[in-house]
Symmetry: C2
Subunit: 596 residues, 2 copies
């Protein structure tokens, strides 16, 4: 399947919705519109011409483990070398360690391209980005000097080693141990599972960030420390030297992302060094958690874009049956299936979810940039709160929609959607992991309610809702948008009321937290994205009013916004009714009576 980066829509989001040039000026990074557009055009070529063509074969070939060495699918190594050599790896890396310091708002567009083109390939570098962030924020100067430049350039890659067989969601159950040595290092011993990129042949060295317990650590999550444990110990010149006491014991056989090695990692007294203080591991991980979860959200979006492209292209070409109103294509034996309302329903669902998510993702990226780079501390804190509120929504909703949009893609292809060579079923299989890793989507929803909403009594959510309401009210006078403003404003008000009900229920009964969480997250996502569709429609109308020559593009934004309101936003109704159903109907059935 061909992947063509949606550059026009990305430029709409970057320039017309979020004024990326002004954003860069505020951040003081010296980037301008021309440079950004140029970089994204080159990025589109790399993603479309180098990375995407490896996706189908990567799925068929998968990874192999022999004598402790993992071989990645044909072509991955060479494409990764280009990723390093041409500076793609360092795009968003910190400038003081050789990075180019692009803001997340721009980097997210490139990352989405990689994920759409070949998710398995992106998995390796995505975890390096996360490891860089944790090391940059919490590592000692010595560790940073020894590792960061090589990780930023991509010549060394990174992993996150959290999960153990008995400890997935619940990190309190971690058993891996780190014993202090006389030289200030630690000996790390334990078994980790589900380690993406734990072993592979693409980079010169692999730097594992490992959660473990020091000997005197308190029980539970307060006794977890973070250690840096390299595959190859740097020699006196800082080059990869002696092999450390760690190995890949097995690679998993998975539903999808088969080109990504998912490893069982055994640490047998491996040498490592503490990142952050003793027992500060979870706090250090939380630093990179926002970034990592944002990235997983982008994975859902990237795959969804690719599924939409495939379905649209198939629907334009496949001739089958006649339009309900009579032959649209009388000179041919049948009409292209895009004439059918139900096929259009599927395509427009894909399109409006994808474009809607791209806007919300960019808004979230802006907050992450401001959190890290706004010159004013209060503004940094404000952005951090906003980002923290949005992250569980982005991670969960984008990955759910990735699966839905991929499945719609399969449906558009009919029987061919089930056949591997067409590539569409792979997108369903690849995207399914995104709803599970970095915290399952159920965990994201709990995080939204428990930490983000209840954490401040709903204050940040109320602030967001008030801003969106004010924006919608500012558009109330515009006749061309009347069909959008009213239903969206009504939903924003309903969302405020519902949020108050959710907070009251959660305060009354802790079971309600888990009983409302997923439906509340879904409800919030649909309404939030509607607010961005309203903004997009306003910008499109502005452009048309100003006499833009791109009437097709802007008219499509208006039509898409209308579709979203009439056909997608309405899903909020059922989520609202479901969560108002309360906890009792979930808890009443005794465990023993679930089956007979």
């Amino acid at each position: 399947m061909e992947y063509k980066a949606p550059l026009r829509d990305m430029r709409f989001v970057l320039h017309e919705l979020f004024d990326v040039a002004g954003h860069c000026e505020l951040l003081g990074n010296g980037l301008d519109r021309e440079l950004i557009d140029g970089v994204l055009e080159e990025a589109a070529k790399y993603a479309g011409e180098v990375v995407a063509p490896l996706n189908r074969n990567g799925d068929e070939e998968g990874c192999t483990l022999e004598n402790g060495e993992v071989t990645t699918p044909k072509g991955f190594k060479e494409a990764y070398q280009q990723y390093v050599d041409n500076g793609w790896a360092s795009m968003a890396g910190p400038i003081d360690f050789g990075g180019q310091g692009f803001p997340q708002l721009v980097a997210a567009q490139f990352q989405e391209m990689l994920m759409g083109a070949n998710l398995a390939f992106r998995v390796y570098s995505g975890l390096t980005d996360g490891a860089v962030l944790a090391l940059y924020k919490h590592g000692s100067e010595e560790l940073k000097n020894a590792y960061l430049a090589k990780m930023v350039s991509g010549s060394w890659s990174g992993t996150m080693c959290l999960t153990e067989p008995q400890a997935g969601t619940d990190l309190a159950l971690l058993r891996t141990k780190a014993e202090p040595q006389a030289d200030g290092s630690y000996k790390v011993t334990g078994n980790k599972i589900f380690i993406s990129g734990g072993e592979h042949d693409m980079s010169e060295n692999i730097v594992h960030l490992v959660l473990a317990r020091l000997p005197d650590a308190p029980a539970g999550v307060k006794g977890i420390s973070l250690l840096l444990v390299p595959k190859l110990l740097p020699d006196a010149n800082g080059n990869p030297g002696a092999r450390n006491a760690l190995s890949c014991g097995a690679i998993e056989h998975k539903m999808g992302i088969k080109g990504a090695s998912t490893c069982v990692m055994n640490f047998d007294g491996a040498t490592g060094w503490l990142i952050g203080g003793p027992n500060q591991g979870l706090a250090c991980m939380f630093t990179m958690m926002n970034d990592a979860r944002f990235q997983v959200g982008l994975q859902g979006l990237g795959i969804a874009e690719q599924a939409f492209q495939g379905a649209l292209s198939y629907a334009r070409e496949r001739l089958q049956s006649r339009a309900l109103t009579g032959p649209a294509n009388p000179e041919k034996a049948a009409d292209p299936i895009i004439v059918h309302p139900d096929v259009r329903r599927m395509l427009l669902t894909q399109k409006t979810l994808v474009e809607g998510a791209r806007m919300l993702g960019a808004y979230c990226a802006v907050q992450l940039d401001l959190e890290h780079g706004h010159p004013d501390e209060a503004a940094r804190k404000a952005a951090a709160k906003r980002a923290a509120l949005l992250i569980p929504i982005v991670k969960s909703f984008f990955t759910d929609l990735g699966q839905e949009v991929a499945s719609l893609g399969v449906q558009c292809y009919g029987g061919h959607g089930f056949i591997r060579e067409w590539g569409m079923e792979q997108l369903m299989r690849d995207s399914r992991i995104t709803q599970l890793y970095e915290g399952t989507n159920g965990i994201q929803a709990l995080d939204l309610i428990r930490r983000k909403l209840m954490g401040d009594g709903g204050a940040e959510m109320a602030a967001l809702q008030a801003e969106l309401l004010a924006q919608s009210e500012a558009l109330a006078g515009r006749a061309e948008l009347a069909g959008l403003v009213e239903p969206i404003r009504a939903r924003l008000n309903e969302w405020r009321e519902l949020t108050a009900q959710v907070l009251a229920a959660a305060a009354r009964d802790p079971q309600e937290i888990g009983a409302v969480s997923v439906d509340y997250l879904q409800y919030s996502s649909y309404v939030l994205i509607a607010a961005f569709w309203l903004q997009a429609a306003a910008k499109a109308q502005d452009a048309l009013d100003a006499g833009s020559g791109e009437t097709g593009f802007y008219q499509a934004k208006l039509r898409s916004a209308e579709f979203y309101v009439k056909r997608i936003l309405v899903r909020a109704s059922s989520h609202r009714e479901a969560l108002l159903g309360g906890a009792d109907c979930l808890m009443a059935l005794p465990e023993a009576d679930f089956a007979f």
Copy 2:
């Protein structure tokens, strides 16, 4: 993954809801409750102990094609031989050709077991059942005598050869030719794709039912004929003889049901015989279409049951985190995840969709039985109309829920859900085909509106709705059911109004047919199943009132009905709002403007 047939629930459906003994008496087949229960217990053993253990390996090993011969996965052939030898193949077959004449109401329970235990294995025999039906109804005496007994016993298997590369949904585009020969036979020439069980090593012979055109046939679907084309031509004694001029050119590489061979079949002047008259092929296919679509619906149900069993078992065993109300299992390091409301939400969604679908499926099976076997012709016709109305709902809704329930199963397993050895991801991959074959679910929805609803101006649907309303009103006085009766009655009334709106919109604008179809089918399904949950709750309350010792089972029915109404039935709201969004928002966007 272990498969344990849900015998208790099947007995509830058979005896308590649908009085299978009375049903059998009406049909005059001489079966009684004891015999039926005994057969289903043996069936459960065969499904659970013989067929289910082959499922995981069947997926890994798949089928292989060498020199035109297809080898099925290890164990399939032996399990199939038991299926033949022990009379499972002939359970529902016609008595005059060696079948046992079990009604569909009973056979459906066995078929659900097979599908849950191993869908790929069931695909082979499922198509034989369909071919038997078509041949029995439309074949000449000569053909029936030569083929039926062997197909009913299962020693010869059957296929349906419809699809060609250019003709999937749209059979008008068929090109395969059948040329009459002097001896009354035909030479069949053409290429068919997606032929399940087109070639394999499990049966002595394979009997293909092939759609083709006679030389003088009119264009389009009116010019299609049905031919019987055996792999091996019967010799003078009726045994498999000379090889016919047909071959398997390739087998597809698929997302799932890898143990089922999906073949490209090449007919190169193969000898065949007409079933039914010339150009009557589509009418003959329609005979078996109801049955085939019902069977595909059961596939969704069977897989869903298996996914529920797996998820429930995992949720009871997996220890992770603590209950929101504090440790439920303080002596262990963590609580089983079934304590979490969101995990229960997933499990109860699975449970109530599965049990709800089982009731609706049984109701549909009753109609199919009455259509074929009621002593009174008017009653046969009435049942045929009812079955025809229900079939697209059963096919489409059950397969959608199969995919949803399997995906919820993966979600309950967390990261392990993505790993092949756990078996849950296979259920997602296997069930995905059911939404596509035998007419995609979009086509089912069009069938519901165009043929079934508009075909009689909504009369049959109105009759069904009136019956369900009357049943709900009869329960209005029962205080214990008050929480169910009111919301369900309100939905039944809303459904009537919505149906009138849909009919009016479709009459006004043909695009509305396709614009409302999927959401109307979904809406109708949720409400229809709610009506059966109300019946189930009433029966459960009856049993409790009568002092049944099985309080857990019956209380679970009441709790499940309550969950369904509060958490699942509410989905109808969004489908209603979506379809009322109309066709304009689907058709307004010019095809050229879907992407830029």
